[in-house]
């Protein structure tokens, strides 16, 4: 419901439908007006604002945690150290190993940036995950892509490309088939799939919540269908809870896959 309230044009679209359920076009639920710089490279809209908040919140939290860090952690320090432990134990060490600790700052930044950007889907009055737009997922996927190729080339020089394109143990005749597949999957599809996985999940969740918001408003407005409207509202609440979980899960998956790709580049034999 708040989705629709946050964007009056959604309600307008419903009303224009002559009393029936009229879902807003995709433009209305993902495109946001600019505060300044429309059409320019520095154009600042709601997504840009969420991106800045997704940067500022972890900076504040980690700053508060590290400001008076003590041997016995309390309060925010305890929480942030637990998050470091989580990324270290669940992402870095299983996917890369102990030598992956140098990538911890990047992976923690990635995790928090995505998670907080996603959480805006369920934050009242915001109701728009930054990653439901392709910009941030694409940018982060390019970062991951550059990182894992860079790590591979740094540690194994051109041997990395050889290992990646000509996997050992495969009969030489099959390289005609395997090498183009490996090239496509490793160097082209990986970043694309990484970006689309995050973007599509968040956009789908966003569309789902908008759909149930519009449905609830429309059904509650129609007197005979108030009960069905209540059911629709219950679904909206349930999917909001679900999206809360998806926000975390997608941040974790993106960070984990980035770590897996870096680990694969660091130890191509494995």
């Amino acid at each position: 419901m708040l989705h629709a309230l946050a964007n009056p044009s959604v309600l307008l679209a419903a009303e224009e439908g002559g009393g029936g359920v009229e879902f807003p076009p995709i433009n209305l639920i993902v495109k946001w007006p600019h505060a300044f710089g429309e059409g320019q490279w520095y154009g600042f809209n709601k997504i840009a604002l969420i991106s800045l908040i997704a940067m500022i919140v972890p900076v504040l939290l980690f700053w508060l945690a590290g400001r008076k860090a003590s041997l016995v952690p309390k309060g925010v320090q305890n929480v942030m150290e637990s998050s470091i432990d989580f990324v270290e134990q669940q992402v870095v060490l299983p996917a890369i190993g102990p030598d992956g600790m140098r990538y911890l700052p990047m992976l923690i930044s990635m995790f928090f940036f995505i998670w907080i950007g996603n959480l805006f889907e369920v934050i009242p009055t915001a109701h728009m995950p930054a990653n439901a737009r392709m910009a941030n997922p694409l940018m982060l996927a390019i970062v991951a892509w550059v990182m894992f190729i860079g790590v591979g080339l740094k540690h194994h020089k051109l041997g990395y490309l050889k290992e990646a394109l000509f996997p050992p143990g495969v009969p030489k005749a099959l390289y005609i088939l395997v090498t183009p597949i490996e090239f496509l999957s490793t160097f082209l599809i990986r970043p694309f799939s990484l970006a689309v996985r995050l973007f599509a999940n968040m956009l789908a969740g966003h569309i789902l919540l908008v759909t149930f918001s519009v449905l609830t408003i429309t059904l509650v407005g129609a007197s005979l269908l108030v009960i069905v409207g209540g059911l629709s509202f219950a679904m909206l609440v349930a999917f909001t809870g679900f999206e809360f979980m998806v926000a975390f899960l997608q941040a974790f998956i993106f960070s984990l896959l980035t770590a897996v790709y870096i680990g694969g580049a660091l130890h191509p034999a494995h």
Binding site: N27, Q40, V59
Partner: protein, 178 residues
């Protein structure tokens, strides 16, 4: 599938955007600026104090564990020393007891020996006295018997007999039957 649906939707409505294609360069710019700022701050400013305190905590844990291990070893040593001391004390107590027992035994033996010697001496003295009394009694009895025998013989023969002259004969007889 979602992407293809969105593309189809975009094709149906020329005004609709294709959300798969990033159409706002500003979003990428601000997103990249925010992410790289976060990454740099995290790398050089935000994480180091927390990582440092984690390392210090780990070092402190190791130090505390080592101290606990040292304390445990020391306690173990104290316990061993205590056990040794107790064992030595018990041994010494047993020795002292044995020595006391031996001394008491020796003292008892010497006292018993002394008592026995004294008893033997007293007995010997008593025996000597008894022997002397017996001899005196026998002597006394020999004279009386001679007197009585001579008196009886004088009665038998109805004539007076000299007691003094026959006393020797009677006494010799008694002596011979002693």
């Amino acid at each position: 599938m979602l992407a293809s649906l969105l593309v189809l939707a975009a094709e149906e409505d020329p005004a609709a955007i294709n959300p798969v294609v990033p159409d706002e360069i500003g979003e990428i710019f601000w997103g990249a600026l925010a992410f790289f700022t976060l990454w740099i701050l995290m790398r050089y400013w935000l994480l180091p104090p927390l990582m440092k305190v984690r390392e210090e905590r780990r070092a402190k844990e190791i130090e505390d564990l080592e101290a606990a291990e040292a304390a445990r070893t020391a306690a173990e040593q104290v316990r061993r020393d205590y056990d040794t001391t107790i064992a030595e004390a018990r041994t010494r107590a047993a020795e002292v007891l044995e020595e006391a027992r031996a001394a008491a035994e020796a003292d008892r033996a010497s006292k018993v020996a002394a008592a026995e010697a004294e008893v033997a001496a007293q007995r010997q003295e008593a025996m000597a006295e008894l022997e002397a009394a017996r001899a005196a009694a026998i002597d006394q009895m020999g004279g009386d018997v001679a007197d009585l025998a001579v008196t009886a013989a004088s009665k038998v023969v109805d004539a007076p007999l000299d007691v003094a002259s026959h006393r020797g004969t009677v006494q010799n007889y008694v002596e011979g039957n002693r």
